[in-house]
Symmetry: C2
Subunit: 741 residues, 2 copies
């Protein structure tokens, strides 16, 4: 892919007819006067006098090569001209224009170039999109030509904001002097506050009918602009040098000052740092020191946060709207529209919305800041609901004696006091705060954390792996399964997720039998006291993209909900179950679905519950939720869970958890926008089943699996888990060549 390393500036106008071509020509002349090799390019041009701007440049700066990439003959706006064409040409697509421009800038062989846009910042491109959006992937440094007419202060400021909102850096503002309205004086002050210099030149002379005279007058005019324009060119050159000096060293500086998450710094060399100058759609615009920027696929969707593409203007506008309307307002006992609308929508009270993760089961939305805090809340909710249901409120005198203060220190009746445990699956991951970590089995993530103590039991899960066109259900050697073995074979990936059919299978009965037996052992023999069942539906991401057999997860939920007798054995154990729930309450254990990674169409299904066929009592969402813009998480809970806290009017019975930015308006607003966009998407991306089937025959691969946008390739040698480096080479290869269907 071509890099753009040269000094290229795009010229945007605060309005039509503010002098973009005049300023472009004057800049080109000043550049050429310094001896620079400089070119002029007009991405899109229309009209009877087609190519008019380029012709002006050729007339007054004949030494400058010019190019118009897309021309329409109709004298109307590009979007109308494009619509009028009999067979719409390929090059009207935005991406096509951008690639032609990128290539031309790379191949023109000049030191510098001026890219002149048409009309104002939002004048339509051939596709109808705004020009500011059209050119966004390149994010060229920008020259804004301000307006010196009445109203020009407003149009210049508004244009500036629209450009900034798309992530553009404006290097300078140029405009004609404005002696009557004083626009230049006002705007010079305004832009200096934004660190941007403003330069002015006189207006060009009025046109005259006689062409030679007209040309001569303009030539004289351009002569007069040379001094100022030389200053501008010098400033632009300096700014360009500063930008590149900063970009060239950015990786090294990050290497020196950042403490990156999940990174052993001694293994990263300064030159290995990926310098991301901007991001657009599925790509980073990555910078190579000394070379320039080029697109690089964001292979993990930035830790699976992206769903609608990087740098989307709808989300930027939504974020700005909420920031402008509120900033932030504290949450307790407060109602603000973005949070309330979002809660209603997530809970399914907005009938026009398709994607509604809590519809039909959840009654409350609790907001926190990320998946880890969302899971801490989920665990507190679940655990406390169990504690309150399963702790005897009226104790016998014998029990009271055994739990008397003097006998209490760390033990009950001589026994060590038992922890409340989670029941989960091996390979699960719920976040990095201590509570979320404690809900996961010991692993390399927790090995060196002094305060970690896994508090739970984690069953070995059957996992799916496609090899040679068939999907095998395999289990590791474990207490649950004995030897590692294959429990069955399914004809396709799709078949594995047809829950109604699979519930009728022999394997379902085997799962249920095993789970009943194992749970009895865990509680009655091994003495676990469980407070929650915690699952990542379908795929355990951070644990190594384990595609868990969904039938097993469904059976586990069913068995847990049917065994209240086991979990109700209180501590100290009373042989009579201690149950005080109402008819519609949660059963057995509160079931938590951690859908931080798996939810919101990431796996091709809206939510895990859509496949498992049974809702949780609590679920946790993050990552995609906010459209990949800012952190926010939501923990949804059923009414029965909520009532375990709203059980009295005691403050201390409440869920005493909160973060300063709880339900922050910016997060809520971008989430609402994201959910709209997800609902509007006609189809969600997924990997081609035929390609997957073909790949499953590859010799180097131990197996392959895919759901939604997630693709898992298992190498024969990949046994090292998180600490292994085996995948690094492959990742580099894949990054270069793959794209989703």
């Amino acid at each position: 892919m071509a890099s753009v390393a040269r000094r290229v500036h795009q010229v945007f106008g605060a309005d039509t007819d503010v002098g973009k071509t005049i300023f472009s020509t004057a800049l080109l002349l000043a550049s050429a006067a310094r001896g620079s090799k400089v070119a002029y390019v007009k991405p899109v041009s229309t009209g009877a006098q087609q190519d008019m701007d380029a012709r002006h440049v050729r007339t007054f700066a004949p030494q400058v090569p010019t190019r118009t990439l897309v021309q329409f003959s109709e004298p109307v706006s590009p979007h109308m001209a494009a619509a009028m064409q009999a067979s719409p040409d390929e090059h009207v697509r935005d991406a096509q224009i951008v690639e032609r421009l990128r290539t031309w800038l790379y191949e023109c062989g000049m030191e510098a170039a001026i890219v002149e846009t048409a009309g104002g910042v939002h004048s339509p491109s051939p596709s109808g999109s705004s020009q500011a959006d059209l050119l966004r992937p390149l994010r060229l440094p920008t020259i804004l030509v301000g307006s010196s007419v009445l109203g020009g202060i407003s149009s210049t400021r508004a244009s500036f904001e629209s450009l900034r909102m798309r992530g553009y850096d404006i290097d300078v503002v140029l405009m004609f002097t404005s002696p009557y309205y004083g626009n230049d004086t006002y705007l010079a002050q305004y832009f200096v506050e934004h660190g941007i210099p403003l330069f002015t030149i006189e207006k060009p002379p009025a046109r005259v009918a006689d062409t030679p005279t007209d040309v001569a007058r303009m030539q004289t005019y351009y002569q007069h602009t040379l001094t100022t324009m030389a200053e501008v060119v010098q400033y632009l050159a300096d700014q360009h040098a500063r930008r590149y000096a900063s970009l060239d060293t950015l990786g090294m500086r990050a290497h020196q000052h950042m403490w990156w998450p999940f990174t052993q710094h001694t293994r990263v060399a300064p030159q290995d740092v990926t310098i991301v100058d901007s991001a657009h759609s599925d790509f980073f615009e990555a910078h190579a020191p000394g070379q320039g920027t080029s697109p690089m696929m964001d292979g993990s969707a930035s830790w699976w946060t992206q769903a609608v593409g990087h740098g989307h203007p709808r989300l930027a506008l939504a974020a700005a709207y909420a920031a402008g309307r509120y900033g932030h307002v504290l949450s307790p006992s407060v109602a603000h529209e973005p949070a309330v609308r979002l809660a209603e929508r997530l809970l399914g009270h907005d009938s026009s919305a398709t994607l509604a993760p809590g519809r039909g089961w959840a009654s409350r939305a609790f907001f926190t800041d990320d998946g880890s805090t969302g899971m801490e809340v989920a665990l507190k909710m679940a655990m406390q609901a169990s504690v309150r249901r399963y702790t005897p409120t009226v104790m016998s005198s014998a029990t009271l004696a055994r739990t008397a203060p003097g006998r209490r220190a760390g033990s009950l009746g001589g026994r060590q006091q038992r922890e409340w445990h989670v029941l989960g699956l091996q390979g699960s991951y719920h976040g990095d705060t201590i509570g979320a970590m404690d809900a996961c089995e010991p692993s390399v993530f927790s090995e060196h954390v002094a305060w970690y103590r896994g508090r739970g039991y984690w069953l070995a899960p059957p996992a799916l792996r496609m090899k040679e066109g068939k999907v095998r259900i395999e289990v590791p050697a474990s207490d649950e399964w004995g030897e590692s073995q294959c429990l069955g074979i399914l004809p396709s990936i799709e078949a594995a997720y047809r829950m109604p059919a699979r519930l009728q299978s022999e394997l379902a009965q085997r799962y249920v039998r095993m789970l009943n037996k194992r749970l009895e052992e865990l509680v009655l023999v091994e003495g676990h006291r469980f407070g929650a069942l915690v699952l990542e539906p379908l795929v355990m991401g951070a644990g190594g993209m384990i595609f868990v057999d969904p039938l097993f997860q469904r059976c586990l939920v069913d068995v847990v909900r049917s065994r209240e007798d086991l979990f109700s054995l209180s501590d100290p154990p009373l042989r009579d179950a201690c149950v005080n729930r109402d008819a519609d309450g949660w059963r057995g254990l509160p079931v938590v679905y951690d859908e931080v990674f798996t939810g919101l169409h990431r796996l091709g299904f809206a939510m895990g519950a859509d496949v498992l066929g049974t809702p949780p009592d609590i679920n946790c969402l993050a990552k995609i939720l906010t459209g990949g813009v800012v952190p926010m998480s939501v923990t949804l809970a059923s009414d029965s869970i909520f009532r375990a806290f709203a059980m009295s009017d005691q403050k201390t019975h409440a869920l005493l958890h909160g973060h300063s930015y709880t339900a922050h308006p910016v997060g809520c607003q971008v989430t609402l926008e994201t959910l709209d966009m997800l609902d509007e998407m006609p189809t969600k991306a997924s990997w081609d089943p035929a390609w997957l089937e073909r790949m499953s025959h590859a010799r180097r691969l131990r197996g392959i699996m895919s759901l939604g946008t997630v693709l898992k390739l298992e190498l024969e040698s990949s046994t090292g888990g998180y600490a292994s480096d085996a995948a690094d080479d492959l990742l580099r290869t894949l990054r270069a060549g793959l794209c989703t269907s």
Copy 2:
């Protein structure tokens, strides 16, 4: 304060001369034709033909009362007209104009009103601010008049974005038909995608010289617009009804669907919910069902997150810029400009910046999402640094035998394995995730949390309280101090924070003696194994605004750093200290300052270290950090702490902690902007010392204290802590009447 409940719309233009007055008049006529009592108001007008717009309205809609609030005779933009006035009038201040408008709208007694702005959205107000900023506190529902001329698509879209960025809701777009350029067709499509209808009418007839004819022609024209305008008025009325129906029920709906943080829901009635329609500066614009909105002071600065005021356009633009440039990009081994620049700035490498919390001591910035996650990281850093320094790497055979696997389960040599503990102060609070909770002493916050177990020892701190003009240093009854007592009296609040003088005092020696003795007992007798000293400098916020004696905190840090001999006693205890640090490493224990609440000028000092006179090894910032817009936290660490993780090239030695949105560009960008704004502030707000002195004599108050913007009033009866309700009444009283100096 006056409420705005009526159907009021403000009219903004996409440019000057787009027909704002024509559309205003047409709307007024259509309203009047329905029998509505409707008024017209022009906040600011200038020019020889002063009051021209209002006069047009009076001519064609004589039944409509009109009002111009601020008039300038000079025929120039309001900011120039205001500057020309000999003695600048009071009413040129933005706040004054807004209050006059609010009052007029309240008192005019009409059902509806049209507020017509001047020029475009950003045309300057008398103070020079943009009109869109000027009117922002009222956040009136908006009519945008689009532009039908060449370039009008761009100016209309850009104006729309500037309005949205300030949190305005645009109800309708009105514009003249645009048969040649097709602006109306394009924009109708564009706005329908934003849920906004666009209505068009024909352009008015060209003006003629003969006034009666001109008036007659315009009258006919307005007649022709009536049908369309009646539709618009109906739509606006419906929209108004929907808005009010939504606002009126918003509190009830929040009550029904939100699970608020730190809230016992059974104690909140639906009508107690604060409905916040928007926020500006230090105020919410709060809605009272059936009445309308009015300003309400945000007394806690929204949980102490606000520093530069709600809804600041600079921060909204910064957020939009980063969202548009990146969305988000994953953090590990990646460099993006906002994060790197922010790290450099926080660490003190930007010489132009004043506020640089890590300058001189910190070498690394680790980003997370909130104070709680930031403190989890701080604790992991500190604890792991201690574990690595103080765990014997070469064990004697006797030690090895005692720690052999078979003897390991929960005990060493028959003793229970000791936890790594924090050393802290009673009343501290570090967040709500389990790790952060465990670093705090047991309290009402943790009482009902199954997984909480305080892992530390918390000293009883001396606290400051001003009464009758003097500041008393008081300690509670405790192991440290025996009886509760007054340790000393200082002449003023300010004197308490003069560290160099206080370090020479007798009390300093007393603190040092006590701390040495107590630490010896805690380690040698009580068997605590400490891994970190964790402090909130100066004020413990959530613990009840405890103003800790800074001299005590300073002495504690000094003593901890001087007693490596105590902390180096490893587990199992080796009588020889196990120290393997380099000369510039941390000493004794890693010292963590939790400055989530206290940092960044909240307490009148830039940072706690500025008062304590000694830097931490780790510090944690959040709340103000991001200017009160989005959650983000940073944990700064010294190089010596960093090297405890970058000690090898093993991945598992790294700090294996991270969140999806680590160092998200939006957070970094608004933080950079906030730090700029804090640096630019000439003075930081604080409470008037004379007023504080006076209040300290009040009979109902047990004491008073203040630092920076924090004011603490202790009532004689306030003994109930978090669970108490005593403060509720006072808060209501204060909310109504107080303001900062």
